[in-house]
Symmetry: C2
Subunit: 498 residues, 2 copies
């Protein structure tokens, strides 16, 4: 093997063993010895300059060193860290410096014409961070818990819950996620973050005025929660290609997150993320019509990852439930003061009154109001397409032969995320849960999927199953779930028979 | 992206972003469209012909289809499968065909001059397989176990233990491992195996005469345990690069296993394997001399992965314990009727009598008896080097400042596998467990690390931590540990506040 000293434009780069992409001219020109080049599953070629690699390496070095020291840190020290961190954020004299940095970030983002909705550190966000940290403070760490003991003559084996390693987080410009991610310290792990450039000033201020002083006061290594100090996305790529990470978490969704997940997986790092969202509701033969209508309307109150995206109704109930569905969809629009948008699977068009297809209505899109047909036909193999609507609730409808048919379509086409069955027969629910390949399964609205709301635990991330299940872990990643199991043998006499 | 239609000799292939290797001439010549080429972390270029890819794909296709159907299979069906499989192997009229195939495999291997020790399906191996399958039969599956319930007003969330997915196994020519690997069906997973070419005939006979009939009798899909029907190693590379696997297990150790693990990790598949073995024993300030000597001797009874490889003694006890260690090492040699071999860390040479270095003794090596110095000096940064001895027990000795010093050397140099501390102070044991980065920690002999022996559970594989911890799982992989967690919401009323 040789060191990569230069890249040539047009040079082929392998993707997955049997395809290739080529080096773009701009990357070939920019590449210098010491830089790295990564190839995403999509074929996209990513340039990681040496400076960004070093920014990530320095932070991971610190977190690895801190992880070693965390072995002897006590649960009380970790609690003290959260307490001091929360108090610092709650302290107006300390917070003023953070607020100033945030105001500068918001102003800079505004001048670049970027959204500042999630960037602005509002009073509510500040309080949520304080509450979140106090939540971590009051949770048990779980370290050292003996989950199983096997006793032999003269010796025993204990399976002991223990900390996992260094966790890498990449998230866009939301300062509060920064506090959330510190949750992995609860169970003895350490963390490295990379935050979007818009929020980097705020993050630096939080580190300087609250995080580091809290680590120091608790006697924890400053690398226990290390910020990758770079505004470049390439630093995030570098972080996720460092195989010293035990887990990579990317917040948000979409193509950028999906690509980050691919980078981590190629480096052998388990990745928790959800590239694609969108929930399914299935109404089966025994569905209660009112409950179904309410679940549809209430799963369309706003567009987030667990919003209803695809609704399947079994054919035997279509005559009754398609109208209920259309009314519920209209109600969701009315609640937001807009018209809704419907997509109908090509094989189900006959079940929807033709006036839905004929009617032109204003749909509230990102670029403004657009006149469109209220309903459009969509190919039957496009049921997994996620609608990224702004204001007008937007869903796909399909009429299926049976619940099993709906499950098969979900397993084949959906991003395998959230599924609800409306049915009054418990046996149908059990079969649905057993056969549908989703981490989150319910019997009503789909919007319950949220670690804080559903489990009462601060949430680190959601793990969609689109590209694989997390080994021995489910879909919601909370700080206390980031652990491993170690085995300890206690021999009571030196001559056990082996 | 384009399809890879040809390879050119000398064409650069990226390794890890900043290095490259080149396509060897023989692979460039052999490559045809439809083939794949993989690059190992070592820079080795692997050619996977289309036929081998298809052999792997067919088996994974079957296992994926079977996994879907396994959702509705009951625990009783799975038990019936193990029972029928075991009975078939125990049935002399059925077993005769398997024994014939095995005799042919053994004969063919013998003619090629290969080892047949582990290939021959002895009565003992046959009985072990029958016992193993009955062990799986009698274990609980764990599917559907509610591991946590969070109750809200009007609804609740259940965290449910559930099956993980398709598990890929690659192992060399040991027919019995084939039965072991079926253990993952216990918890509702399905499995694809690739067995070494020497044992392929035996494996085919087991499939035809015992495995498939047992699946059919239990009403399970025949793809639930699918054999990759190819004698080529490339079929194993193809299997481990199929991202539909949820877990990849490679049995054995060494470079081939390590490379397989790298292939799986690059495909985003968690890998359970141990490329390198070798255990450490640390004797601390409070060690009991007799217990220490016994632990050393008894950890050197034969060369397997958990054999003592490196012994660290704290300096304050060196005068007393180095002689104990040398006596124990000699005793281990005497027990095997041979002379032992010692390596001494360069910084510790003064602690070993010079006659050990001066004495020429016969050492029983793979190539036969070789005259060597009984002790040799080894660089202080080579403590992790594993001795692959044949008959003469072979170990490294280092004298360290403290237990912490030993732990630091272990974390930096060892393959992070098995560690024992000899100490009578419980606080020292707790600190050792908290700081040493090993999945298996004990207080005496190192040879206890074995799933069957230590946990009383059929073992699928050992997961060394050399290249990463398995997420939320420890070092011994048993069939019942291959699971995930899914989340189920049960809404008692349609209007929960969200």
């Amino acid at each position: 093997m040789e060191r990569l000293e230069k890249l040539t434009a047009g040079m082929p780069l392998l993707v997955g063993g049997d395809r290739f992409t080529t080096v773009p001219t701009d990357i070939a020109d920019a590449f210098e010895p010491g830089d790295a080049v990564l190839v995403a599953d999509t074929g996209e070629v990513l340039h990681v300059p040496d400076a960004e690699r070093r920014a990530a390496t320095v932070a991971v070095d610190a977190a690895v060193a801190a992880f070693d020291l965390m072995g002897t840190a006590t649960d009380e020290q970790v609690s003290a860290f959260y307490d001091t961190f929360a108090n610092a954020l709650a302290d107006d004299t300390i917070f003023v410096a953070i607020a100033e940095a945030n105001a500068a970030d918001v102003e800079a983002a505004r001048q670049k014409g970027r959204s500042t909705t999630r960037l602005e550190l509002t009073t509510r966000m500040r309080n949520d961070m304080v509450e979140g940290l106090r939540g971590w403070r009051d949770m048990p760490g779980g370290r050292g818990e003996v989950v199983e003991t096997v006793t032999h003559d003269g010796w025993r084996v204990e399976q002991v819950r223990d900390r996992l390693g260094v966790v890498g987080f990449v998230f866009e410009g939301r300062p509060n996620v920064f506090a959330d991610a510190c949750g992995v310290l609860r169970s003895g792990n350490t963390v490295v973050f990379r935050i979007g450039s818009d929020a980097l000033g705020t993050a630096r201020a939080i580190v300087t005025h609250a995080l580091r002083p809290a680590l120091a006061a608790a006697g924890l290594h400053e690398g226990s929660a290390a910020l990758v100090d770079s505004p470049s996305r390439a630093a995030g790529y570098a972080l996720f290609s460092d195989p010293r990470l035990s887990l990579a978490v990317a917040r948000g969704s979409g193509r950028a997150v999906s690509m980050l997940g691919g980078i981590a997986r190629k480096a052998g790092i388990p990745a928790s993320l959800h590239g694609t969202g969108g929930a399914w509701i299935v109404a089966g033969p025994t569905a209660d019509a009112d409950d179904f209508g309410e679940a549809v309307t209430r799963s369309l109150d706003r567009k987030v990852c667990n919003t209803l995206n695809t609704c399947a109704i079994t054919a035997d109930r279509a005559d009754e439930l398609v109208p209920v569905f259309l009314d519920a969809l209209r109600a969701a629009g009315t609640a937001r003061g807009v018209e809704p948008k419907l997509h109908v699977s090509a094989d189900s068009v006959e079940h929807v009154p033709s006036d839905w297809f004929d009617r032109q209505v204003p749909i509230a899109r990102a670029e403004g109001e657009v006149k469109e047909a209220q309903a459009e036909r969509i190919a039957a193999d496009e049921l997994g397409r996620e609608w990224e609507w702004e204001d007008s609730p937007e869903v796909t409808l399909v009429v299926v032969d049976s619940i099993d048919d709906a499950v098969q379509r979900f397993n084949a086409q959906a991003p395998r995320f959230v599924a609800s069955l409306l049915a009054t027969d418990p046996a149908e629910h059990d079969r649905f849960f057993a056969t549908i390949d989703a981490p989150f399964v319910g019997n009503g609205l789909t919007r319950w999927v949220d670690g804080q709301y559903a489990l009462g635990k601060p949430e680190l991330g959601l793990s969609n199953w689109e590209t694989g299940r997390l080994f021995a872990r489910g879909g919601i990643l909370a700080g206390d779930s980031v652990h491993t199991v170690r085995t300890r043998a206690v021999l009571d006499r030196p001559d056990i028979p082996r």
